[in-house]
């Protein structure tokens, strides 16, 4: 029992999973037992698939000690591009449109990666500039137009199939495998833990860092196409400010802002936690005007629990080593 408790307080993912289960049960009771249905759970994942998918890219960026706040700008630029291609009947093929969005995202990410890795520009400043550039381009290039409804009928129909779920599941499986069992995954952790040691041991730090931002861009571009599919509309303002949700989901999932610590499973749990809160707030009979306040309190509470549990685990590790 004592060993179990120690494991519980020491393992961040298990403690977060328990919090999640408790939260889920509470919400289910408050909502009159309508929360546990398959349809509802499906919607939880679907409505938050953009945050969930981008949190994987953000995990890698945070692991290297960086940050990327340009992601929703990239999302809007890629999303507007595929929206307009459909509106003006240039391309209607949904898989091709997804590839175009991903390619745009990759290019945006490459620019970030090169400026950060080769130019040694601080990630938050570089991506802050990039955020305005991509969001600005989404507005300027498409002249403030929208594409919606019939314009994006093909993508909108795709959004109502199992497609978004498959993309979401595939992204998590790929990242789980890559981060756990491939040299690339280990290099990302190595750089985040100790950049100089990684460099000395022969890792091409710049190349890994660039690749991390390219992958972030790829996922942001993918999320752009997915956003058009899910909401049946492309607007220059789409998902504005949601980069903070993505970062918060990672942090709730135990990813360290200073690099080197964090897992795909933790990120998934953090993302689901966020998604459950989002879905639950309008359901449990709270006045609308209270919802943001309550969301903030819940997030802060979980992050505090995280920090405390990590401190306990560190102390236990030290105690075991008899230091």
């Amino acid at each position: 029992m004592k060993a179990f408790l120690r494991k519980l307080s020491g393992n961040h993912e298990i403690s977060l999973a328990i919090i999640l289960v408790v939260l889920f049960i509470v919400v289910d009771i408050l909502s009159g037992f309508t929360f546990h249905g398959i349809g509802n759970i499906g919607e939880i994942f679907k409505n938050n698939s953009l945050t969930l998918i981008m949190s994987l890219g953000m995990l890698c960026v945070l692991l290297t000690g960086g940050i990327d706040i340009s992601i929703t700008g990239v999302l809007a630029f890629a999303g507007m591009t595929v929206g307009m291609l459909q509106k003006y009947n240039v391309i209607k093929n949904v898989p091709l449109l997804f590839l175009i969005a991903i390619a745009i995202g990759a290019l945006c990410g490459l620019l970030n990666g090169v400026v950060i890795a080769k130019g040694k520009v601080s990630p938050i400043i570089c991506t802050l500039g990039a955020m305005y550039i991509w969001r600005g381009l989404a507005t300027v290039v498409y002249n403030g137009e929208w594409a919606s409804g019939e314009n994006v009928a093909g993508m909108s129909a795709f959004g109502n199939t199992a497609g978004p779920y498959i993309i979401l599941a595939a992204a998590f499986v790929v990242y789980f495998v890559v981060m756990k069992w491939t040299p690339f995954g280990r290099k990302v952790y190595a750089i985040g833990s100790n950049r100089e040691a990684a460099q000395i041991s022969g890792i091409n730090v710049d190349r890994v860092e660039i690749l991390v931002y390219v992958l972030m861009g790829v996922l942001a571009g993918l999320a752009g196409a997915l956003s058009v599919s899910l909401y049946g509309s492309a607007q220059p303002t789409m998902q504005d400010g949601k980069e903070m949700d993505v970062i918060a989901a990672c942090v709730i999932g135990g990813v360290s802002m200073s690099g080197g610590r964090g897992t795909v499973v933790g990120t998934l749990l953090g993302g689901i936690f966020y998604a459950v809160v989002y879905k639950a707030l309008p359901l449990v009979g709270l006045e609308s005007i209270w919802q943001n306040l309550i969301k903030g309190v819940i997030i802060l509470a979980v992050v505090v629990i995280n920090v405390v549990s990590q401190r306990i685990s560190r102390r236990q590790t030290l105690a075991r080593r008899e230091i």
Partner: protein
């Protein structure tokens, strides 16, 4: 080499930022339009009408400003720069009814004619208001649509924009007042006013929550263009029996309008934002030329049509009502979706 690359990239970024900040400004502007924010198709249409009407009157000294974000701060910055430029009139779609007061007063002291369109400010701060549709008319049209679609009885919900949105709150209050005053509506029950904050994702969450919470729900009324679009997709994708009405842009809602089970919205309303922009342009010119001074009873011509300044209910401040809200249904949607 590395430094050079970095320098180059930073220059490119800086250039792109400058490009994305540029607006449609001309040398010596006299007539200014300030919309709610950039990147919004509805605002673009208002601006389009404003520009077209200026050109039709042979005026080239106009300027359209789209604030970067839909906030009061962004509008204050824009207005201050217009005051510095010395424009003669400012037509503004306000992001807040009261917070612009100090800035508008200082514009007024400089002799600038202030008028509002789309969303009004406190009546003391402007000369007149170009009202897209009277609050009463919109409230009446919406409650009648709910009554009709629900066949006279049952539960309905409202999906609004933000809880502070001036227009939406006024329309919702009008709906409630009309429903309370006439026993015809006694069997209709308003179960909730939900706020989707004009974000597709939040509006989607809120719509799904409404469906889950109220299994007997018959109609959702969304008096906001983003909300109605998000709700339309949720209902149509689910093949829900709950029907939708409200205020939406025809081009965005065409895919969802129809009388059969495959479509979520039997009909909806809106006015023409292009015409609203035109009205603001003609009213600006009339104010600057002195044809009207903002007092009730004044008249001016917009092309062939005469518009009259009427009193805002319960005050002696004036407004110009564009016309009753226009109904979009399966019979006319295909024609209008090409227009805006």
């Amino acid at each position: 080499m590395k430094k050079l690359t970095a320098l180059l990239l930073v220059t490119v970024m800086a250039a792109a930022i400058l490009v994305s900040c540029g607006g449609a400004s001309s040398g010596s502007a006299e007539y200014a339009l300030v919309t709610k924010a950039s990147g919004n198709a509805y605002n673009e249409k208002e601006a389009e009408g404003f520009v077209a009407a200026m050109k039709a009157q042979g005026i080239t000294s106009y300027v359209v400003k789209h604030p970067e974000k839909a906030t009061v701060d962004a509008q204050i910055a824009v207005i201050n720069s217009l005051i510095a430029q010395g424009v003669k009139s400012i037509a503004i779609a306000a992001n807040d009814a009261n917070a612009l007061s100090a800035t508008l007063k200082s514009a007024k002291e400089k002799g600038i004619k202030i008028l509002t369109l789309d969303s009004d400010v406190a009546v003391a701060d402007r000369l007149t208001f170009c009202n897209q549709a009277g609050v009463q008319e919109v409230g009446q049209a919406l409650i009648d649509a709910v009554y009709d679609i629900a066949s006279g009885a049952g539960e309905y919900a409202i999906l609004s924009a933000t809880s502070q949105a001036t227009n939406q709150n006024a329309w919702i209050d009008a709906m409630k007042a009309i429903a309370a005053a006439d026993s015809k509506y006694k069997d209709l029950t308003l179960v909730e006013v939900a706020y989707g904050d004009d974000e597709p994702q939040k509006s989607t969450d809120q719509t799904q929550a409404l469906l889950q919470k109220y299994p007997n729900l018959k109609v959702i009324c969304a008096p906001t263009t983003v909300g109605i679009m998000a709700a339309a997709k949720v209902l149509q994708d689910k093949k829900s029996t709950v029907k939708l009405t409200g205020l939406g842009l025809p081009s965005e809602m065409a895919a969802y309008i129809g009388n059969d089970a495959d479509h979520s919205c039997p009909y909806m309303f809106l006015w023409n934002p292009i015409d609203l922009g035109k009205l603001a342009a003609y009213a600006s010119v009339a104010l600057v030329k002195g044809d009207i001074d903002g007092t009730v009873g004044g008249t001016f011509m917009m092309g062939e049509t005469q518009y009259k300044l009427t009193a805002v209910e319960g005050t002696n401040a004036s407004e110009i009502i564009l016309g009753p809200p226009f109904k979009f249904d399966p019979s006319n949607i295909n024609e209008w979706k090409e227009v805006y």
